[in-house]
């Protein structure tokens, strides 16, 4: 027999084996439980943690659409710039590096230090909209934790001349004013994103999921003609400076289609300079400000009277003795005259004449022509903040209001609205819909007066610019011009200010078949002259002459001019309509 290992013959207690076994089983159970915990319960969390080691979500910025003029010339372009941001916890910079960085960012070292001292934040903008060359030098510093983010900044090559119309965007490239705001949805793109896998060197090696492509912003083509816009702004600015006016505005319309070819305001601002901008300069006065039009409204009264068959173009009106009493208020003419034809009433801008015609006309008829011509309702140009002016309901008119309305007091309009209303005379009595966007086909106008009336009034408006008219300075060499001056006292509170005027002129050319319509408004000229025929008409003439040449419109008149100097100075001014209480 072989010797037996004594250890084998030892009899151990069974309980000991059981304890060991159960401990082993318990150990396995714990392992399984932990595995379950990680694999099933914490799965999502851990997966995400793991992914974040190599996967990155990249934002794909979308480009904001361009705003162009009618010929495709850019008026607003977005171009990429770099914004510098830091993740303070990750920044490892030596003091020397930090000083260099501060210099590049054009900020003080202390300021930079403060911004980088908050390790709780993961994202701090250090500077936005950096020039690409500065950004490139910054990258060369190679400081960890400092990164660039591509953003877009808006540039306006046309600068101040189209500033009011285009508006501007904020630092995040969202439209804040003007066209930028009105067509925000169309212009703005939608940023996309893609999840990618990056290798150790930070190179993208694979798309981890399907890419959400960014939706690029779309372009907007305006009806504006950049050349005309420049011309209009230049002339307006010169006139405003010459007459030391507080403000001014000009609108150039295509008389046929109602498209706005130019729209400028002074004072202006440079939209490329974000820091210096004040609200008064940023207002688009031609669309958002109201004024009392004065005599420029007279043609509509005459048109209403012609439509009602109350008068004919050759009818006469007695305007002697140069004033008219309505109730206890008095309406005056600057140059009292005797018997005038209807045409002469317009030519000399007689308040008495036009008031007499208006009073003979039922209120409702005067109101309906003015209302149909677009007064009192917004012109629906699509421009944010446009106003409709005030045209009171005819049922509440007192006789004096009925009379003053006929020459443009007690009614308020915007310049764009006034210009649009004149399309009634430029065409065949139809009011054209207005648009700031390039239009493929002319829109359908709405008839306001008959073609015959429109032609008759246009002929009267031509005499305004002719010898003995109030706007000899509105003449354009080689073209027949039709238009009307306006000079109105400004309302201050509820009374008319004696020495503050709004001078205006609205006209069209060539009068035989109008192509262009220009409306000029100069607010508070302060250099002695204030008559529309002296202040606003020359702006009209200069803009119209060059615009017709640019558009190569064939002349329709011999190349001679009437000498200015003895024009009538009438005025719609005259709110000598003071009511004696």
């Amino acid at each position: 027999m072989r010797p037996v290992n004594p250890a084998l013959s030892l009899k151990l207690p069974v309980a000991r084996a059981r304890v060991l076994l159960s401990l082993l089983l318990l150990g396995f159970a714990m392992l399984i439980g932990r595995a379950l915990h990680l694999q099933v319960l914490q799965d999502d969390f851990l997966q995400r943690k793991g992914e974040s080691r190599y996967a990155r979500l990249l934002e794909l910025p979308a480009h904001r659409g361009m705003i162009t003029d009618r010929h495709g010339e850019p008026l607003a372009i977005s171009t990429p710039v770099e914004s510098v941001w830091a993740s303070p916890a990750d920044v490892e910079a030596t003091p020397a590096q930090r000083r260099q960085l501060a210099r590049l960012l054009d900020m003080s070292d202390a300021d930079l230090k403060k911004r980088l001292s908050d390790p709780g934040r993961e994202f701090v903008y250090l500077k936005r909209h950096l020039r690409p060359d500065v950004a490139a030098r910054l990258v060369q510093l190679g400081i960890p934790g400092i990164s660039l983010k591509r953003e877009y900044r808006r540039y306006y090559p046309a600068g101040e001349m189209a500033a009011h119309l285009l508006g501007f965007t904020d630092v995040d490239d969202r439209g804040q004013e003007g066209i930028e705001l009105a067509y925000e949805d169309w212009l703005a793109g939608k940023p996309g994103s893609r999840r990618v896998i990056k290798d150790r060197l930070g190179r993208v090696v694979e798309d981890a999921e399907s890419v959400h492509a960014p939706i690029e912003g779309r372009d907007v083509a305006l009806s504006i003609d950049r050349k005309l816009q420049y011309l209009a702004y230049r002339e307006l600015k010169a006139a405003a400076a010459e007459h030391r006016a507080k403000a001014g505005a000009i609108v150039v319309l295509d008389a046929k289609s109602g498209e706005v070819l130019a729209l400028a305001n002074v004072p202006a601002y440079n939209p490329n300079n974000r820091s210096r901008r004040d609200a008064a300069r940023a207002r688009n006065r031609a669309i958002t400000d109201l004024f009392e039009p004065g005599s420029t409204l007279k043609p509509f009264t005459i048109a209403a009277a012609l439509e009602a068959r109350l008068i004919r173009p050759e009818s006469t009106v007695q305007t002697a003795p140069g004033y008219l009493l309505v109730g206890n208020a008095r309406i005056d003419d600057v140059h009292p005259a005797g018997v005038l034809t209807v045409s002469q009433v317009i030519q000399r801008s007689s308040n008495v004449g036009v008031a007499k015609l208006a009073l003979a006309l039922p209120r409702e008829q005067l109101w309906s022509v003015l209302s149909a011509a677009g007064f009192g309702v917004p012109p629906r140009s699509g421009f944010p903040g446009e106003v409709g002016g005030r045209l009171r309901d005819y049922q509440s008119w007192r006789p004096i209001e009925h009379a003053t309305l006929s020459y443009g007091h007690g009614i308020s309009v915007s310049l764009l609205q006034l210009a649009r209303a004149y399309t009634v005379f430029a065409g065949d009595g139809a009011l054209q819909p207005i648009t700031l966007l390039k239009r493929a086909a002319p829109g359908a106008g709405t008839r306001v007066i008959s073609p015959g009336t429109a032609r008759a009034v246009r002929a009267m408006l031509e005499t305004v610019v002719g010898p003995g008219g109030t706007a000899v300075r509105a003449q354009v060499l080689g073209y027949r011009v039709a238009g009307k001056t306006g000079t109105a006292h400004k309302l201050q509170g509820s009374a008319y200010a004696p020495d503050k005027y709004v001078s205006s002129f609205v006209g069209m050319a060539p009068a035989s078949d109008p192509r262009l319509l220009v409306a000029v408004m100069i607010d508070e000229p302060d250099n002695g002259d204030y008559y529309g025929g002296v202040v606003a008409a020359p702006v009209f003439s200069a803009v119209m002459a060059e615009a017709l040449r640019m558009l190569s419109v064939p002349p329709d008149a011999p190349a001679t001019l009437v000498e200015p100097g003895d024009e009538m100075h009438p005025g719609g001014a005259l709110p000598e309509v003071r009511e004696e209480v």
Binding site: E73, P74, I77, S78, T79, P80, Y155, P157, A158, G159, M161, D199, R203, V204, V205, E206, D207, R226, K227, Y230, L231, R234, L477, G478, E546, R549, P554, P555, A559
Partner: protein, 92 residues
């Protein structure tokens, strides 16, 4: 039986290596594609900047200034302008 298994093992190893290589090549190509796309984007950006530059140089105020100031150009007076009737275009 063992022989088949050995052959299959070899095949498996070859396939595995091929997979690794092709994955690597795919990633390399992808990086290259990325690079090219970056260049395309860069060129796009440059185009925008050039457009901006062009329209800044072509500003009417600047053109006018040069035309009037440097080149002494002016609009001809009306007596020196002759109008020529537009030739009638033959119907297309």
């Amino acid at each position: 039986m063992i022989r088949i298994n050995l052959v299959l093992l070899c095949l498996l190893v070859i396939c595995a290596l091929a997979l690794v290589t092709s994955q690597h090549r795919a990633r390399k190509l992808f990086t290259e594609l990325e690079k090219e796309q970056d260049i395309a984007k860069q060129i796009d950006v440059e185009w925008g900047q050039l457009q901006l530059e062009q329209s800044t140089w072509a500003m009417h105020s600047r053109v006018e200034q040069i035309a009037r100031g440097t080149l002494h150009m002016r609009v001809p007076p009306s007596e020196r302008v002759r109008l020529v009737p537009a030739p009638k275009r033959s119907a297309p």
